[in-house]
């Protein structure tokens, strides 16, 4: 039985001709010798999923080591080797941090347009469904109507919103929310922040300040800092992860927009370099379109042949 993550990824993949598996099927016909020409073509197939030139070259070498000198046993053999190698690259699952006493604080960060507010809205809904009491800090006081967007999401899931005027100090909003979360014995405090490009120092300093201020009110917080990455982003996502990690204790990634044809392969490169695991995957605009990341499912989806029926 397919899990929902795999289904969603496969659904998107079905609509593109250059899914990895489709290319492998064309390239790795049974009996073809494993030589440079074949490996070159496989490397290109890997590039199409945003794994990046470095990782693609590395996987090419691994494939070469494991298969060279033989004739290809067929696409399934190559896909099987790839599956093992990519899985080995993903960092191990780390259990989520839970504080000894509630509230648990989750800080949501990322560049503009990656899907932070939507992700925060879905998280509030997810925890609401689990019967947890959620307070949301609408700390994106910069973008037009971001507070209203967050408030609508919170209202739908029955979470309480702490908000302020547009242009207010986001750290102050986060601080107020931390107080409110404690006073109301909330289980979860979710802090939505403004999108910021990682090369803008004042904005990154502001983020560090938000994290500091929360820690002052709730020791040990933020317990989780989720970096939201647009799944269609290419190499720049690695730099984003590096830079956000410098100013906030990023503990997990959320990979959004994977219901399209993008594969988010850059997350593999990030996991490899920084050891940050993917926690959730966004696959749509509905409240329940946020899925827990499962490495096996993800890789299976990544390597599913085109035409596979997801559902």
């Amino acid at each position: 039985m397919f899990g929902r993550l795999r289904q969603k990824i496969v659904d998107g993949l079905r609509k593109t001709r250059d899914a990895i598996a489709g290319q492998v099927e064309r390239i790795a016909s049974a009996g073809r010798p494993v030589d440079d020409a074949l490996l070159d073509e496989l490397e290109e197939a890997l590039l199409s999923a945003d794994l990046g030139p470095e990782l693609a070259a590395e996987l090419r070498d691994r494939l070469g080591q494991r298969l060279r000198g033989e004739a290809v046993g067929g696409p399934d053999q190559v896909l099987g080797v790839l599956r093992e190698e990519i899985l080995a690259l993903l960092p191990p699952r780390v259990p989520e941090t839970r504080p000894t006493a509630p509230p648990r604080v989750t800080l949501v960060v990322g560049v503009n347009g990656s899907g932070k507010t939507t992700t925060a809205g879905k998280l509030a809904a997810l925890w609401g469904r689990e019967g947890r009491k959620v307070v949301v800090a609408a700390a994106d006081t910069f973008r037009a109507a971001a507070v209203e967007q967050m408030a609508i999401w919170a209202e739908r899931s029955g979470a309480e919103v702490v908000r302020s005027q547009p242009g207010a100090d986001p750290a102050a909003v986060a601080f107020d929310a931390a107080r409110a979360a404690r006073a109301r014995h909330a289980d979860e405090l979710l802090v939505d922040t403004a999108g910021r490009l990682h090369n803008k120092k004042p904005l990154m300093d502001e983020l560090a300040k938000i994290a500091r201020v929360i820690a002052k009110e709730i020791p040990g917080a933020p317990h989780e800092t989720l970096l939201v990455l647009d799944g269609t982003t290419g190499r720049n996502a690695v730099i984003q992860a590096r830079e956000f990690t410098r100013v906030a204790p990023v503990s997990g990634l959320v990979l959004t927009k994977l219901d399209g044809t993008a594969r988010g392969g850059v997350a593999v490169a990030i996991g490899r370099e920084l050891g940050i695991p993917v926690r959730y995957v966004g696959v749509g605009e509905a409240a329940d379109d946020l899925l827990l990341f499962e490495a096996e499912e993800y890789v299976a989806g990544l390597l599913a042949p085109p035409g596979t029926k997801g559902e």
């Binding site: 945003d50 030139p53 973008r143 990682h198 982003t233 190499r235 993008a262």
Partner: protein, 416 residues
């Protein structure tokens, strides 16, 4: 040449240029660089650089003058912006509207994203922030109907442009793609602009192609170029769809938009630290004679203060120092940074004030000589000390690394 092409391949892939585009591009460069139109005066390295640059600029739509935005024979002209979620459509609408207003047009912002929570409100606030009129409504109804109303409203009130802010949609969402086609049929836009995030990876081509298959795109607006993504998506989209990039978003402020510049983009894609440009400039500035002298002295492990001064002169000849430093990979100047060219002149003056013996062997330069040199060059003893320190560091680097100046050398040379 193979080594150069390998480097270029890597640079393009790191910049997120589609692997297919990279493949075709390199094949073409190889062919042209080996072709008959070889210019005698260029070294093989220069040949490749020239061909790569020309090809990149060509693909990005260079040469041809940027076409102004089309105007419908019957006003208002509708400009429809579309794209994936989070690409920056609404922010861009504010900037584009302001830009149009500045050039004497009367734009009306028409939000038709009835999908995302608070999207209409966002458009209203963005429009107000940019001083633009906006067609307000409560966010109910159908996007097609709202778009029609906005156009009618514009016609009645004398607006000559309607900026249609559509909902973000995935190209695989058939229902929403149908809606986009219906919007187009209903209001017949003069321009359909695809808003693309400059950070997009290999998927850029897939999504742009899918949008183009449903509505006839007339241009691309590349956003978030104020980030540090190299923006290879621009090249992929332009090369595969043939739709030219028209504007670039370069910040969050309402005025942060500019007409797209293919030449600058070509440089950026090849590496913000435009390695090729640096090589090119260096090759221009270092005339053959002094390069030969420098090489000889390096071979003999001699790097005297005279060579140091020559190097300073060469660097100064390479153009405004900001632009030279800006081309060094990994070195980024703050926006307001200015490298004082007078500083390099002062450094040269210090060396000029030394005796031939001092230039040959810096070890003889004691305290009283330093004072004399400072007086002679109109500088201070501290500056003389600093120069000697820089010289020694540079000498060490040259001895370690050989003749081609590296970023570290230039950086140290300029005291950064």
């Amino acid at each position: 040449m193979d080594a150069a092409l390998r480097e270029i391949r890597l640079a393009l892939l790191e910049a997120d240029v589609s692997f297919k585009v990279v493949r075709d591009f390199l094949a073409r460069v190889r062919e042209k660089a080996l072709g008959a139109d070889v210019i005698q005066s260029l070294t093989p390295g220069q040949q490749v650089i020239r061909v790569v640059r020309d090809e990149l600029v060509g693909l990005l739509g260079g040469g041809a003058a940027t076409r102004p935005l089309a105007i419908s024979s019957r006003p208002p002209s509708v400009y429809m912006l579309c794209g994936l979620q989070g690409s920056g459509k609404t922010t861009t609408i504010g900037k584009l509207g302001r830009w149009l207003k500045k050039s004497g047009r009367h734009p009306l912002v028409a939000p038709v994203d009835l999908q995302r929570p608070a999207a209409v409100l966002q458009a209203v606030q963005v429009a107000r922030g940019a001083g633009l009129a906006v067609y307000e409504h409560d966010g109910t109804g159908s996007p097609v109907e709202r778009a029609r109303e906005a156009v009618r409203h514009a016609r009645q009130k004398g607006f000559d442009v309607v900026l249609l802010d559509t909902a973000g949609r995935l190209h695989v969402d058939e229902e929403l793609m149908d809606e986009l086609a219906a919007l187009r049929a209903a209001v017949e836009p003069a321009e359909i602009l695809y808003v693309a995030d400059a950070m997009t990876g290999q998927d850029a081509v897939r999504s742009a192609e899918a949008f183009k298959a449903r509505v006839p795109l007339t241009g691309v607006i590349l956003t978030k170029l104020d980030g540090d993504a190299r923006g290879g998506a621009a090249l992929s989209v332009a090369a595969i769809t043939g739709v030219p990039v028209r504007f670039a978003g370069i910040g969050e402020k309402p005025e942060a938009i500019e007409v797209f510049d293919p030449e600058r983009m070509a440089g950026r894609i090849l590496g913000m630290g435009d390695v090729l440009g640096l090589i090119e400039k260096a090759e221009e500035a270092f005339d053959a004679e002094s390069a030969r002298k420098l090489e000889q002295s390096l071979k003999k492990r001699q790097f005297g203060l005279e060579q140091f001064r020559d190097t300073l002169r060469q660097v100064r000849k390479m153009g405004p120092l900001e632009s030279v430093i800006g081309m060094i990979p990994g070195v980024r100047l703050p926006a307001d940074a200015q490298v004082d060219p007078r500083r390099v002149v002062r450094m040269e003056a210090i060396v000029d004030s030394m005796t031939a013996g001092e230039r040959r062997d810096h070890r003889v330069i004691n305290g009283s000589r330093r004072k004399r040199i400072a007086r002679g060059s109109g500088t201070s003893v501290q500056e003389v000390n600093q120069l000697l320190k820089q010289y020694l560091e540079m000498r060490k680097l040259f001895q370690q690394m050989g003749p081609s100046p590296s970023k570290g050398q230039l950086r140290r040379l300029l005291g950064r």
